[in-house]
């Protein structure tokens, strides 16, 4: 990777810190960086730029609702004998900044609650007999420490944060720099926004393929902040370019096209703005934005139609044990607001202490530490991973029929409310066509668009499926791999042709899959059942099903047999 001048990235990050400090609640930052001196330096800089006394709090990813939103202060309530409310973290951060380390681990529910607080500027508590509303206007700084593609900041929050920064490429040596600017004059300023600014930003967003409407809105806000910071009277082209580089560029989904290739933005009719100059202004800004596009973006855009939607980082391996629904399996000490009170166990825990606590006849003294809640175990969700052989040999035989079989299985998954993912392998490697989703329509679409032809990189396909399965297991779901192939591997792991090496690699990958404990089902798509696929199934400890028998009923039964018991 040819890194851009790291100093440029750091300068931009410093600018973002100043803009975020000017109006924390109006901007918001997603900071992609591993923990280290660079990230700490940026956070220190942000803290130094904020007015003295501004609250800066850290929000742990696994925060409970009562700590986040506020609720009953249970120990104080029990002591006082009347309900005592306590405000949550968001309400206490009103007017300040909330920093979320490991934001990619935020659950979707927590993310939705934070998003609602961001949208309304208030936190409403209506639970435990308390009904209050606290103001909560805060700036959000999401620290994204995700490894790889399958961990990302919840989309709902990333969309609401104006500036997206990536500090991974900044060397620690680059951070010694300029002292933070004085923001007092900028705070008082309120620069004018010309009419065409909104049109320019919307046009830019459209040309970068950004669907969300929040992006141009946030860019407009950031442009105004930038103008205030620079002491401009009104928002000019320079401010819009800076805002587009900070807000729009990181969200780009399409490499900007030349003006004559993309449909030109409708020039504003009349007015003093000359259409030609407006269009060229947009082009100039676009060129500036293109220079600040993240370096990996082009490769990703060239590799496929667009980066796939990030997976909502829902749940973790421990989620099953903290389930809120399911079968009770005993009790544990805990707060009854985080689960269901286990009355008998609570009384049993309180009983030995009654004499010490001075409980008389007919009176029972229960304190906070006696409280027991039910431990529940929730049925794990299943993710069915389809690994489809789309190679030339399979295409020749019966790719269409394999697609038909997968559609039958998809319908089955729909009935069971499973998640599905689709991996296809052909040519030199394997592609993840569909990240785990519940949307069957998307699965169907991905499948219909699947082309056939090329060699059979069976090992790569099995490995991709195994990797996906491991990710799903980490997320607390049970993966099942369905491999549809004729078993005739002819492209080895390294991408070189050759049947012998390819076969050995495929068996090794299959063994690794089985060692990971993933359940699997091999559907032989060859016209005549092949030894290769059967042997693969044996090594994978998988069910084996030749396709000539794989009619709807058989398939359904086989999938049910390999799915984990409910």
């Amino acid at each position: 990777m040819t890194a851009p001048a790291p100093d440029g990235t750091w300068t931009r990050a410093c600018l973002a810190a100043a803009l975020a400090a000017l109006d924390p609640a109006g901007s918001g930052v997603v900071l992609r960086a591993r923990p280290g001196p660079v990230r700490e330096a940026w956070l220190d800089r942000l803290r130094a730029l904020l007015p003295a006394g501004t609250p800066v709090s850290r929000l742990p990813a696994g925060i409970a609702d009562d700590a986040l939103l506020g609720g009953l202060d249970l120990p104080a309530t029990l002591r006082a004998g009347r309900p005592v409310a306590q405000p949550g973290l968001l309400a206490r951060s009103d007017g300040g900044v909330v920093v979320v380390p490991m934001a990619e681990r935020l659950g979707p529910g927590t993310a939705a609650r934070i998003a609602q607080a961001l949208d309304t500027g208030t936190v409403e508590v209506a639970r435990d007999g308390i009904a209050t509303r606290h103001p909560a206007r805060f700036g959000l700084v999401l620290l994204d420490e995700g490894e790889g593609e399958d961990e990302a900041v919840p989309a709902a929050l990333a969309d609401r944060a104006a500036m997206h920064l990536d500090l991974d490429a900044v060397p620690p040596g680059a951070i010694a720099g300029t002292p933070p600017p004085d923001l007092a004059p900028a705070r008082a300023a309120w620069p004018e926004v010309p009419q065409e600014a909104a049109a320019t930003l919307c046009g830019l967003a459209a040309r970068l393929g950004i669907v969300s409407l929040r992006a141009p809105l946030l860019a407009l806000r950031v442009a105004r902040l930038h103008a205030a910071l620079c002491g401009h009277d009104g928002v000019g082209e320079h401010d819009i370019a800076a805002a587009a580089a900070l807000v729009l560029a990181p969200r780009a989904r399409v490499w900007p096209q030349d003006q004559d290739e993309s449909p030109a933005a409708p020039p504003p009719d009349g007015g003093e703005a000359d259409p030609a100059s407006a269009a060229t202004a947009e082009d100039r800004i676009l060129a500036a934005v293109a220079a600040s596009l993240p370096p990996g973006l082009l490769a990703r855009l060239l590799a496929g139609p667009g980066p796939r939607a990030p997976n909502p980082g829902a749940g973790r391996a421990g989620a099953a044990a903290r389930a809120r629904r399911g079968r009770p399996v005993g009790a544990r000490p805990g707060d009854p607001r985080r689960g269901r009170l286990a009355l008998i166990e609570t009384l049993r825990a309180a009983a030995p202490w009654q004499r010490l606590r001075g409980g008389g006849a007919g009176r029972l003294r229960v304190t906070a530490e006696d409280l027991r809640i039910r431990r529940l175990v929730h049925r794990r969700e299943t993710t069915t991973i389809f690994a489809v052989d789309a190679s030339g040999s399979a295409a020749l035989e019966r790719l269409a029929e394999a697609k038909g079989a997968v559609e039958l299985l998809l319908a089955e998954c729909y009935v069971r409310r499973d998640r599905v993912a689709l991996v296809a392998f052909r040519g030199r490697g394997a592609d993840l066509l569909l990240a785990p989703t519940r949307s069957l329509v998307r699965a169907k679409r991905a499948l219909a668009a699947l082309p056939g032809g090329g060699g059979t990189p069976l090992a790569a396909g099995i490995e991709a499926a195994a990797q996906l399965a491991a990710g799903e297991r980490r997320a607390g779901r049970s993966p099942v791999v369905l491999l549809l192939t004729d078993g005739r591997a002819n492209v080895s792991r390294s991408g070189a042709p050759g049947r012998v090496q390819a076969g050995a690699d495929a068996l090794a990958a299959a063994r690794a899959l089985a060692a990971g404990g993933t359940r699997a089902l091999v559907i032989d798509t060859a016209a005549r059942p092949q030894d290769g696929a059967r042997r693969l199934a044996e090594v994978m400890a998988a069910h084996y099903l030749p396709m000539p028998q794989a009619d709807a009923a058989h398939l359904a039964r086989a999938v049910r047999a390999s799915a984990p018991p409910g």
Partner: protein
């Protein structure tokens, strides 16, 4: 009506309310028994044309700059709309639904194969409400045609893998039944 019968209590509270649900179709679908209880359904997407996007960004910016002024600017329009709705509500009892409209609604639901009778009931209520809002004395087939997509789109029994939108199917059925 909300009935409580537990822990030695037996109560009935009146509970007439409007349920507004929002969801992301990519995350999965609602269960049909719940979906059926919603009267109307609309699918909302981010506008894709530049002009309306620019308008939205400008208005939002105006609101952020001066929330009170923005509210005052639009207050007149809101009051007018509120009055129109209240006046329409007063007309609700006096608005007749001709048998021909009911018959067309039933034929439409039969053609689309919706389960139960909630489809017809919603069609009738929604068409009547629209007629009142328009100030028309009686409900016509045009009113029915107008409300049919939002009243029926979520009631169609659909193949999860069928990509044809429910709106297209309703448009086809409307053309067949109403001509």
């Amino acid at each position: 009506m909300n009935t409580v019968e537990r822990e030695g209590l037996s109560l009935r509270h009146p509970a007439r309310f409007v349920l507004v649900g929002s969801g992301n179709p990519e995350e999965g679908e609602l269960r049909p028994q719940l979906l059926d209880r919603f009267g109307l359904a609309v699918s909302v997407a981010t506008p894709a044309d530049l002009a309306s996007r620019v308008t939205i960004v400008r208005r939002r910016d105006a609101y952020e700059r001066d929330p009170a002024g923005f509210a005052a600017e639009w207050a007149g329009e809101e009051v007018r709309l509120g009055r129109a709705i209240l006046a329409a509500r007063a007309r609700l009892d006096g608005t007749a639904v001709p048998d021909a409209v009911l018959e067309a609604a039933a034929r439409l639901c039969l053609a689309l194969g919706t389960d139960g009778l909630r489809g017809e009931l919603t069609l009738m209520r929604a068409a009547r409400a629209l007629a009142c809002l328009d100030g028309a004395g009686t409900v016509t087939l045009d009113h029915l045609r107008h409300v049919a997509p939002s009243a029926l789109s979520h009631r169609l029994r659909r193949n999860p893998l069928d990509e044809a939108g429910s709106e297209a199917r309703i448009a086809r059925a409307l053309a067949e039944v109403l001509g």
